[in-house]
Symmetry: none
């Protein structure tokens, strides 16, 4: 992470180029998930991809770009998986449940990528020391989920609560799962999802009495 060359824009890439990049990104994901970000050197990634180190640098002029590509790939896949499931629900409570459950299903089905993403979010920094996944990123996710929660409050499904704190709490409860999986692969994600959904259903619903 020393200099500033940029790789060519995505549109100009050939199919072969795209395939190579994708392969490298996958290997980077597995390496980060397995050894942690700090130990996931370009050497290690190249070894896992069974290509020379030069190939990596050829396709990704700097390590930061690999990281960006990993983030992009995982985030895009997550959004693709989750959005329709959430939108399929009509009630706010249903959407919240879908948010939690689809998120955990996705995590369960893509363990390495998510473990890698959490590793990156926690530790990856730019050359200047700033976090690659910075506060804005979390703020954006919190804002999106907050909107969902506010909709529930407006419709009267949800009680009054600070939507930002609730959103952050839900997001961190979800983000904890890859972290837990990295340390305890046997974790029962389905059960975890059901319990989380219940916890936040109770925490958000309008007071009954």
């Amino acid at each position: 992470m020393r200099t500033k060359t940029k790789s060519a824009p995505a549109e100009t890439r050939s199919f072969a180029e795209a395939a190579r990049r994708s392969q490298i990104v996958d290997c980077a994901i597995d390496t980060v998930a397995e050894m942690g970000f700090a130990r996931a050197s370009v050497d290690q990634i190249a070894k896992r991809a069974r290509v020379s180190k030069g190939v990596i640098t050829y396709h990704f002029p700097s390590k930061e770009e690999i990281v960006d590509a990993v983030i992009e790939k995982v985030v895009a896949a997550g959004r693709t998986y989750m959005e329709p499931r959430i939108m399929a629900e009509t009630s706010a409570a249903g959407r919240l449940r879908a948010y939690i459950e689809s998120n955990l299903e996705f995590i369960d089905a893509h363990r390495s990528p998510l473990i890698a993403l959490v590793e990156i979010a926690m530790t990856a920094r730019r050359a200047d020391g700033s976090l690659i996944i910075g506060p804005e990123s979390l703020a954006q996710r919190a804002a999106n989920l907050g909107e969902l929660l506010r909709a529930g409050q407006r419709s009267g499904e949800f009680r009054r609560f600070n939507t930002r704190v609730m959103a952050l709490t839900i997001i961190h409860a979800i983000d904890a799962v890859p972290f837990l999986l990295a340390r305890e692969p046997g974790l029962e994600v389905k059960l975890h999802a059901k319990e989380l959904a219940m916890i936040f259903a109770l925490a958000t619903r309008r007071e009954s009495s």
Copy 2:
């Protein structure tokens, strides 16, 4: 071609020695909190402490020992602060509230140390690649909190829920706070605490019928 040394046991330390160690630990905390664990080199810590690098390695033969000392210091302080507050409560619900609130008060009052601790928990690894704060550590905290929750279930204060998932969710909701503070120093921790307490009060209480 290198070997390992261990520092002398704590009891044999003089006052001056203890003070120096404490100063170094404090600088290590600030450095890790500010730059992240990966960038908190011994050089950086020494620079912040305005001593030569050798001083650090004189008092802490290996970097791992600095990390251990940081963990010990922060964890001990946290326990001292929280335990009486929790034990002062008699109901399970009260204890849970005290658990959450005293934890967040402590975090608020010791931001850098807690940010550093979270950084270390996330990324610090031993020479062999294993995490310094491993799964056992989290398991222990979850078990302790789980016991509190089970007591509430036995007494009928709490509904039936999976105590392990609930404990992990509460712990991660709390651990998220230093992480948030690192990224958004203006966070209103008091408000956050109140909301968290409410969330988990609602999530745990017996269904009203």
Copy 3:
């Protein structure tokens, strides 16, 4: 907080790679022979090879591997040189003479490598403190030479003596030569060889009277 890497197996090496490794090994040999093992740092070796330090660690992930390569190179060359000369003799006395003389010829023709080898044998230690050229190595050489000596005893050429002590004495008389050469380059090795051959001929032959 450091780990170990292993270099790729020898078969996979390209010609250029092998040449570089060989060059580095040669420079390592000269450096060790000239300055002693303790002072032969990777920096020094790199300086002598007129390459950056990184080149060394690129080809030899750890210093121990350089040492292993030095040992292998010298030992293999020695065996290649000596074995046919010894085997060309049919009598035990002839073989013993050939053993001593071919050994000293080889030493004379490869002074630096042998001086380096003796330096390494005396002082090089692994990370765990164990000697890189350990007791087994000497035991093996003593056993081989002992077998030659026992053959001479069985055939009646040699008198009764403790073959192990004799073998060790001969081996150390030979190993002393690189040591002597390092301190006194003008040593007349040919004369030394003739005298040594005579000493051990007299010491081993069957009592005449």
Copy 4:
């Protein structure tokens, strides 16, 4: 081994001073014998002596002086032990036998000091890179023993041989013993001595027939 302060001359030392120095030298001997010269740091020696490191540097301004003291102590003790035994013999053959046997007895009785001495002879160097036990030292020993051998030749007891080569061979056969003991503590030194004495008796005596 960086600078050049000299410690006070021996005559000016108090009794307590001398005792301290002797204790430090003994600990240095044990440390070098056990861990090798390269690993025998001042720290290690101080730890073994159960004094602070400063004590060492107080009594021995530089590490080189410790080494000098070790050498002096061991060499003097050896001379004291061996000289009368050698001089008690009247024949050259007797003196040679006494030389070998008393030497090995002394080694056997003072293993650590001799192992340390050999370690030092092999590897210890001055700040400028020159060997602390240099060629002169060996040359001196060879000259002394050579004189004994020449006397035997003059008297007709010994055959004609190159006295220098013979002397060096005998010396190295003896010096090998501490080296062997370091690697194989069970070595039967008495047997070894007898065999060595026989080897060199046969190698030196005048041809019988």
